[in-house]
């Protein structure tokens, strides 16, 4: 800081902004400069602890801040100029909003004197981002910057987290004011006044758990956000309750834990969805009964009682009516609930659970159709690629140190099915918005937050091309990120829907791609093309250990499908299974 000798120095608004970021413990800003934010960029050199990552598109800046937050649990920060810089952030903010990710976005704005006059690069970004931020602010005076920014951080990380945008006019950045970080401390966060986990409701929940014969825990993103992974597992173990996960809850419990069932929903495994349909009690922890996990609501888990532990009261009874709602932070609620259960309900053992036996029988049944168990027929399948990346990391003992960042599409679902996550925050994926182009920038954010972890991008050939420009960012930042492009020549998930629902009318789903290895080479990034299963593990190994970015173009089976699949309108148990005519199911002797 320019004037650090003075406890409360007089600084420009731009300096106050950066000093406040530093004070909040921020070390990395993902951003892109432009006229209305230039005073802040001009002041950057005075703040050596703040590292600025220059992105190639502001959408990526928001995804990077998002990936940073998902990987670390800390607030990510991105920055853009007014007008087009600010509007480019919108998709990234929406992605963070729907997945409850804490980020603070800072945008420059035209001078307060010309606000509302359609000045050059003026856009009403607080108006535009109203529905895609948890809250936003317009700041027009240097005196307000520190307090507003600190409040923005508090809002972003408190309660149900989310993105907050702070729009700062250029004159506010240029004016001077006294900087007093401590005086700018916000009032304590106002907890949502409808939070309640009354003892009567907790007792009801206890009774329901005691009576249940076929309970299932539904673990959502809230388990990770609340940091309640251990508590959930402890409850599950003590009472032998199997755990089904949402996409964003997949890394909440170790996949290889005997009680972990895996992902539920549209592409959930049959035993998971069947367990939910047959359950007599659902314990929904930090999840919101999204349509992707419930299927047809009128057919959803018809015979179960439902307990919903959720921090956001507006989520309760939104899609599914529940019998007991415990509104609050999951970890706190479980700290009230679990001891009561321990008193009244002697822990069950796995051996005497008929329910678990039934579920496991379903598992064996499903594995016959599982692509992973079929003999090698010389083709390369995305599921095999993902499974082998997992095997490689597991064999190297790096599973707990590996973060997978996926894009959106078939590969995302295969990742969810075949990469067995062992540690919280080891899967980063856009769940609620399903934003293609998310993976590469989010991986950059994750790698900046966790430089010692191995970060893999798993992206489709379509989504990868949406933000492929960030390849030069990882080179400029010298970030050893590993990239697996699952290249099937199609917008695969779209193709699969067209195959299933639109009579194989492949309208606009075949996609031409550049030679990804040459594209990487043009950036000075090494790479390899892999089209045989035997080459997956060796190349994954090279990528992981090279200490440099590495791209692998996995040329996989073009028309493979993700199964099981629940088509729109069907119940969770009404799954499409891998078709029998699938060449994969023809064993060599059949041919």
């Amino acid at each position: 800081m320019a004037d650090s000798s003075n406890a409360n120095p007089t600084l420009t608004g731009a300096e106050i902004l950066l000093a406040t970021l530093a004070g909040e413990g921020i070390t990395t800003i993902f951003g892109y400069p432009g006229g209305a934010i230039l005073p802040v960029y001009d002041a950057l050199r005075k703040f050596p602890t703040l590292h600025h990552v220059l992105v190639r598109h502001e959408q990526s800046a928001a995804h990077m801040a998002d990936g940073y937050a998902r990987a670390s649990g800390r607030v990510g920060v991105c920055m853009a100029t007014s007008g087009p810089g600010a509007t480019n952030l919108v998709t990234g903010l929406a992605t963070a909003m729907i997945d409850s990710i804490p980020i603070v976005a800072i945008t420059g704005q035209v001078s307060s004197k010309v606000l509302g006059t359609d000045a050059f690069q003026e856009i009403d970004i607080t108006g535009i981002t109203l529905p895609v931020t948890k809250h936003n602010f317009l700041v027009t005076r240097a005196e307000e910057i520190a307090a507003v920014l600190r409040e923005a951080f508090q809002i972003a990380r408190s309660g149900r987290p989310g993105p907050v945008l702070v729009d700062v006019t250029k004159d506010a950045q240029q004016a001077t004011a006294i900087f007093d970080f401590d005086a700018a401390k916000p009032h304590p966060y106002r907890p949502h006044p409808m939070l309640r986990a009354e003892s009567s409701s907790i007792r009801e929940a206890v009774a329901l758990i005691q009576q249940a014969r076929r309970p299932v825990i539904l673990a959502g993103h809230g388990v990770v956000e609340s940091g309640a992974e251990k508590e959930v597992l402890a409850l599950a173990e003590a009472h032998q309750i199997p755990i089904a996960s949402t996409l964003l809850g997949l890394d909440a419990v170790p996949a290889e834990h005997p009680l972990s069932l895996g992902m539920m929903g549209m592409h959930g495994e049959s035993w998971v969805n069947n367990a939910i349909q047959q359950a007599d009690l659902l314990l929904a922890f930090g999840m919101r009964f999204d349509d992707r996990v419930t299927g047809n609501l009128t057919k959803y888990s018809p015979n179960s009682k439902k307990i919903h532990v959720e921090i956001d009261p507006s989520e309760v009874n939104k899609n599914v009516s529940v019998d007991v709602a415990l509104i609050g932070d999951l970890k706190e609620v479980l700290s009230l609930l679990t001891p009561l259960l321990a008193d009244q309900h002697p822990p069950r053992s796995a051996a005497d659970s008929e329910w678990l036996r039934q579920i496991h029988a379903g598992k064996g049944n499903a594995s016959v159709r599982d692509i992973i168990n079929l003999p090698d027929n010389g083709h390369l399948y995305a599921a095999h690629v993902i499974s082998d990346i997992w095997h490689e990391a597991a064999a190297a003992g790096r599973l707990e140190q590996t973060i997978i960042v996926t894009d959106v599409g078939q590969h995302q679902m295969w990742e969810a099915q075949y990469f067995k996550h062992q540690a919280p925050r080891s899967l980063i994926t856009s769940g609620g918005l399903g934003t293609m182009g998310f993976a590469l920038p989010a991986a950059i954010g994750a790698k900046s937050a966790c430089p010692d972890k191995d970060v893999w991008v798993i992206a489709g050939d379509g989504g990868f091309q949406m933000t492929a420009a960030e390849l030069s960012t990882i080179v400029q930042e010298k970030m050893p990120i590993n990239i697996a492009v699952i290249n099937n020549g199609f917008l695969g998930m779209v193709r699969q829907w067209q195959e299933t629902i639109y009579d194989k009318n492949y309208a606009a789903s075949p996609i031409l791609s550049p030679n990804f290895v040459l594209l990487a080479a043009a950036h000075g990034i090494a790479g390899a093309t892999v089209n045989r299963r035997a080459d997956v593990i060796p190349n994954a190994s090279i990528a992981r250990t090279s200490g440099k970015p590495f791209l692998i173009d996995f040329q996989v089976e073009k028309e493979d499908g993700v199964y099981p699949m629940i088509t729109p309108g069907s119940g969770l148990h009404e799954m499409l299974r891998r078709p029998q005519h699938d060449p994969l199911l023809e064993l060599p002797e059949d041919q």
């Binding site: 809250h135 966060y189 006044p193 309640r196 009354e198």
Partner: protein
């Protein structure tokens, strides 16, 4: 059905947009919305009347609370609240009116019955001011029309509501508003705890 919410919100630019935008997002029509200063500095009180399914109330209230600019929300129904609306009515009345000058005295009489007040007299019109429940206002309008008067202009504020009793509302009670108290202090965490007999309605319960 009609739901009436009384919300205490920060008095600063953009707050009304946030509230209105929330109803737009939920695809719920706002029947009326009134805003004005409250008894607390920098704080407005809004009465929002909206038309939504019976079981939507919980979600609306919870969502209103999620706005960072909201301080308190109360849902009131007719039984436990005083609900009032202000209406200005301009009626054609003068020498050229079919009833001639006689029309004026008739309007005066009518307005007395309805406890409306004459607030402006012009050569060709009379302006009435009336406060009351929506049905009373509609009653006056209907009588005027049926008596053959031309209603030239109507302006209504929409409903305002206040919970009955010595504590103005559950919200205020919970906020513990005392004279001179620091208003920015964050409120009691549980001002809206459900009563024992209250349940959380679900969308699919009918």
């Amino acid at each position: 059905m009609l739901h009436t919410f009384v919300a205490l919100v920060q008095d600063r630019p953009g707050v009304l947009t946030r509230v209105a935008s929330l109803f737009r997002r939920l695809n719920i029509n706002i029947v009326s919305l009134t805003v004005g200063e409250s008894e607390r500095p920098d704080t407005s009180r809004m009465t929002i009347v909206c038309d939504a399914p019976e079981n939507a109330a919980h979600r609306i209230r919870a969502s209103l609370y999620k706005l960072e600019t909201t301080i308190g929300v109360d849902e009131v129904n007719r039984a436990d609240a005083v609900v009032r609306e202000l209406c200005l009515i301009k009626v054609g009345a003068g020498p050229n009116h079919p009833h001639g000058l006689h029309s004026r005295s008739q309007i005066f009489e009518l307005s007395q019955v309805f406890r409306a007040r004459v607030v402006d007299l012009a050569p060709e019109s009379i302006m009435l001011e009336m406060t009351g429940s929506a049905s009373k206002i509609e009653g006056l309008l209907q009588v005027l029309r049926e008596s053959g008067y031309t209603i030239l202009e109507v302006s209504r504020t929409g409903r305002m509501a206040m919970r009955r009793g010595h504590h103005t509302s559950r919200v205020l009670q919970a906020l513990g508003t005392r004279q001179g108290q620091n208003t920015s202090e964050f409120p009691d965490p549980d001002p809206d705890a459900l009563r024992e007999d209250e349940t959380l309605p679900g969308i699919f319960e009918e």
